[in-house]
């Protein structure tokens, strides 16, 4: 017991050195000086609870996870000691086994880390060549362009900067003079009222027909003003009729 007390004192002093409750448990387990697979979980729990209790009596501030672990271990201890309740899953034995496995696992990684660090390490124990000549890769750009790119580029440049010639395309138009002559000539041959559309060229394209209609309308107004044509329309947008002078 005095031994255990002494151990506690040492642990108390090392409080900042523990990397969490599992680390502390592992240190306690190693103190049992047996293979981890044969440690007494109950002893371990005792020691842990003892340690935490002692730390608290010294009013040392323990991180919450140490206390949580203490509570869980207290539960485990009572479960291990009290008569078995078959309803409770997992069994306390399994929980104990799982705790022992976690300790083994952490222990294995701690050993592995130490063995790793003890290897012949590059830059500490073994060295690469101090002054290597170095390997050089000379990158050479191979420029690529196709003949089409070249020609198209020239076309683009030419089009962009060549003086632009504006050619007004010829539009199909019936001039007012033509329309006056046509309407004047045609109206003389008509006896009765005829729609203005009947004065348009029969085979005109739509574009030309529009122009002919506009010009013929103006021609009709002009001829009416001169008294050479009579106009009749029943209402706005109704058909427009033309007839020779009365």
């Amino acid at each position: 017991m005095t031994d255990a007390r002494g151990e506690d004192e040492r642990l108390t002093i090392d409080i900042d050195g523990w990397e969490g409750p599992l680390d502390l448990l592992l240190a306690l387990a190693r103190n049992q000086k047996v293979d981890l697979r044969e440690i007494s979980i109950l002893d371990l729990v005792e020691q842990y609870l003892d340690y935490v209790g002692h730390a608290q009596s010294l009013k040392l501030e323990l991180a919450a996870d140490y206390l949580v672990m203490a509570a869980w271990l207290a539960y485990l201890k009572s479960a291990l000691l009290l008569p078995r309740d078959p309803e409770v899953e997992p069994s306390p034995e399994e929980l104990a086994m799982r705790l022992q496995l976690r300790l083994e696992r952490l222990n294995a990684m701690r050993d592995a880390g130490a063995r790793l660090m003890a290897r012949d390490r590059l830059g500490r124990d073994v060295f690469t060549r101090g002054a290597p000549e170095g390997l050089r890769t000379i990158r050479q750009t191979v420029w690529q362009a196709e003949i089409y790119d070249l020609i198209a580029a020239y076309g683009r440049v030419s089009a962009r900067t060549r003086p632009v010639l504006h050619v007004v395309a010829q539009r199909p138009v019936m001039t007012l003079e033509t329309a006056i002559a046509r309407v004047e000539a045609m109206v003389g041959e008509r006896i009765d009222w005829s729609t203005i559309e009947s004065f348009l060229p029969a085979d005109a394209s739509p574009g030309f027909r529009k122009s002919a209609l506009a010009s013929s309308f103006l021609a009709a107004l002009e001829l009416a003003r001169q008294g050479k044509v009579q106009l009749k329309q029943k209402s706005p947008f109704a058909p427009l009729y033309l007839r020779g002078p009365a």
Binding site: A71, M109, R110, A112, G113, L116, R121, L122, V126, R129
Partner: protein, 191 residues
Amino acid sequence: MSTPDDLTRAVEAVLFAAEEPLTIHEIKAHLGDADVRPVLDALSEHYAERGIALVRRGERWHFETAGDLAHLLRRDREEPRKLSRAGTETLAIIAYHEPVTRAEIESIRGVQISKGTLDVLMEAGWIRPAGRREVPGRPLTYATTQGFLDHFGLASRRDLPGIDDLRAAGLLDPVDLAMEQAEVENRDEEA
């Protein structure tokens, strides 16, 4: 090996001049398309007893001084900064369990790891993010690097000290986070 042939001399020269460990592919790029692998094996054997060794680290090869001569060479060299205990354990866990999530590392160590720990290992060039695990939350996993193999003189992860024994003992089995979680919840209830 008596008089080395031209290809052997060429491979030797390229590896000797290189500033970094080279893959077979990279060696070939300097030599035209030769069958380099048998040459590497023969060279390794030739150098095995010398003061320089040709070693394989992962998929890469390089020359380095023989390990038993460390005491002669360490003179006036600065000892690399010592890794903390948390760093050492975290590195070991990643190396032996990779790819492994942060939660799994924490579960094995039984304590949270500070952000700095992974940063230090990453900065040393020993670990790298290794994709996300396809579980809820898609946590990032970590694995070791070529630099890790180089630094610790490992031909591959299979050379990790004791890895076969640990695996046989079931100590490298996937960490059952669900179990641990249940335990934590249990613990919370009791608390």
